[in-house]
Amino acid sequence: MRRLPHPAPLPRLLHPAAWWVWGAGLAVAASRTTNPFLLVLVVAVAGWVVLERREKGVPNAFLPFLVVGLFAIGLRVVMVALLGGGVTGRVVLFRLPEIPLPQWTSGVRLGGAVTLEGVLAAAYEGLRLAAMLACLGATNALASPRRLLRYVPATLYEVGTAVVVALTFAPQLVDDALRVRAARRLRGHSGRGLAEIGRLAVPVLVGALERSLHLAASMESRGYGRAVRRTRSSAALAGALTLLGLFGVVTGLYGVLDGTAPLLLGAPMLAAGSLCAAAALVVGARRDPRTRYRRDPWQGAEWLVSAAGLVPGVVLAVAAASGWPGVVPQQVPATLPSVPLALVAAIAVAALAAPLAPVPPALALARERAS
């Protein structure tokens, strides 16, 4: 049977994992370079995709992350100006009064000459961090991490349930706190100060605990419960794999950290231990018979969006490893960084995620109404 080609993909939510792969790829790309033009491009791409494909009503995490990023740039520049940085340049912008420090604070200085090269290096590093934060913020805005909770392996089912309970109860607790506070205000208390917080916490928490027992009763009556879904042998296997994997990881870490350990004890051991531990997560889940209500499909759009994020990540990682010009611009003396077109093209590929991904339903509805 052939599927009918339709002109535009129907509005639906993209699989959250696809957005996280996309964001991780872009963040890796940002982490590999300090070229300010490339980094600004990364932020622009992330911002544009958020503008195009953020579902209506989802809190926009992009802006707070952007503000934190700007703060990081400013903090870096101020600290380098005050304390001096790893990059010592020749072009002195201005001199701050230098405060002599005692001998034991070796290497630390307060004040002194502020060089153009030092400030620029700090700004580039700060910008790199800001760009990575922007990628994370974009991902948080595009695919609410809550939706990822559905995909925890069944070994983590109980923990996942506890998190869902927490996320459902948190807004109610905030409401409770506001109500208790209003009640205390009506009785003439200010509602501020440390002792007030303590008085607020007690009724809110006691109420919440009462409610949790009701919740537990209703969970049990609806069949959440004691039925152990895994066989004894699979549980024992998972436990053994966990311990073995953790032991391998610890040994591998020792090998990686110690200079004299044989090579085999290092990274290979670490990888083997991690694999073992990850296998433990899967083994316990293999026989789980639970089914999901309304799975998110993983279709062509998901593959394309993931690939669009991975392309810049891979290209920039290769470029940084093989030292292409323009990935890490020259710091001393300060010059205008070049703009390598191949890397610009690679980062621009990530922007394709916006046209490739289907429009989320509520946003599509809003656009339809607007037009």
């Binding site: 001096g84 109860f169 807004p171 440390l194 027992l213 049990e220 966990t242 990686v256």
Partner: protein, 264 residues
């Protein structure tokens, strides 16, 4: 919890503690010429440890819940994690003050070590979901918060005034230590842009890097950590008595573990 699973939990906790020590403290532990020292200048190693800590988090959560958690424990954990998350959301304006800690200390004390760890990790995760602030720092924070609550559960027995002051002192220490430990995961990542004498220098040896880190800590984060520690201690002193009573009461209420058997 049966004896064997208790033993297994303790073993995996200890192993993850060792992994955590390595993941946080590798700038000081890496010997010159080791494989981590060769892994680029710090940033690549940071990535490896982010992935490793995320895996450790999942494995430990799975291990702690492997015996099957009953509905009451899940409900209590979920509600307490919600309270922790709500506290963190409410305090989002005061960056880093984290009144959540006092709840973790008190609840960890009432619930015991293993459930305390679960609560700490879940409360942090819930708050990260609520503020949409998931990032590479989340696994580190989850494990650290878990340790805070776990430590409260492992404190020696005490009652009355002694317990209040013990918990308050523990809260103060935690507030300070948490900042000192949490800075470590991104400190090597700052690379050459850290101020002179306060950045990670690969291959410079443990004592030099410890000195640099001390400078970094005092100049950047002590101003946040000290108020946090004091706030945690003060809140614990004020609220620990009624909260402990309420928590212990509900834990006792939730413990009707009469085994149910159906005979044919």
């Amino acid at each position: 919890m049966s004896g064997r699973s208790r033993w297994r939990t303790a073993a995996s906790m200890t192993l993850v503690l060792a992994v955590g020590v390595a993941a946080f403290g590798w700038p000081f532990l890496a010997a010159p010429g080791s494989q981590v020292g060769q892994l680029g200048h710090g940033t690549d190693a940071s990535f490896v440890f982010v992935l490793l800590m995320a895996l450790m988090c999942l494995v430990l959560l799975a291990e702690l819940s492997s015996g099957g958690i009953d509905a009451k424990t899940i409900a209590v954990l979920g509600v307490l994690a919600a309270a922790g998350g709500a506290l963190r959301v409410l305090s989002a304006g005061t960056a880093g003050l984290e009144p959540m800690f006092f709840l973790l200390v008190i609840a960890g004390r009432a619930l015991g070590a293993a459930k305390g760890f679960l609560l700490g990790a879940l409360a942090l995760l819930a708050s990260a979901f609520l503020t949409a602030g998931i990032g590479p720092w989340t696994p580190f924070q989850m494990i650290c918060c878990g340790w805070v609550a776990l430590g409260a559960g492992l404190l020696p027995r005490a009652a009355g005034w002694a317990e209040r002051w013990l918990l308050a002192a523990y809260g103060l220490v935690c507030g300070l230590l948490y900042g000192a430990v949490m800075n470590l995961w991104f400190w090597p990542f700052m690379g050459s842009s850290a101020p002179a004498g306060a950045g990670y220098v690969p291959g410079a040896g443990a004592s030099a890097n410890l000195g640099h880190y001390a400078v970094f800590y005092v100049t950047t984060s002590l101003a946040w950590d000290l108020p946090r520690g004091v706030l945690t201690a003060a809140l614990t002193l004020v609220a620990s008595r009624p909260l402990l009573r309420a928590l212990r009461r509900s834990v006792r209420q939730a413990r009707f573990e009469a085994p149910v058997r159906f005979a044919p």
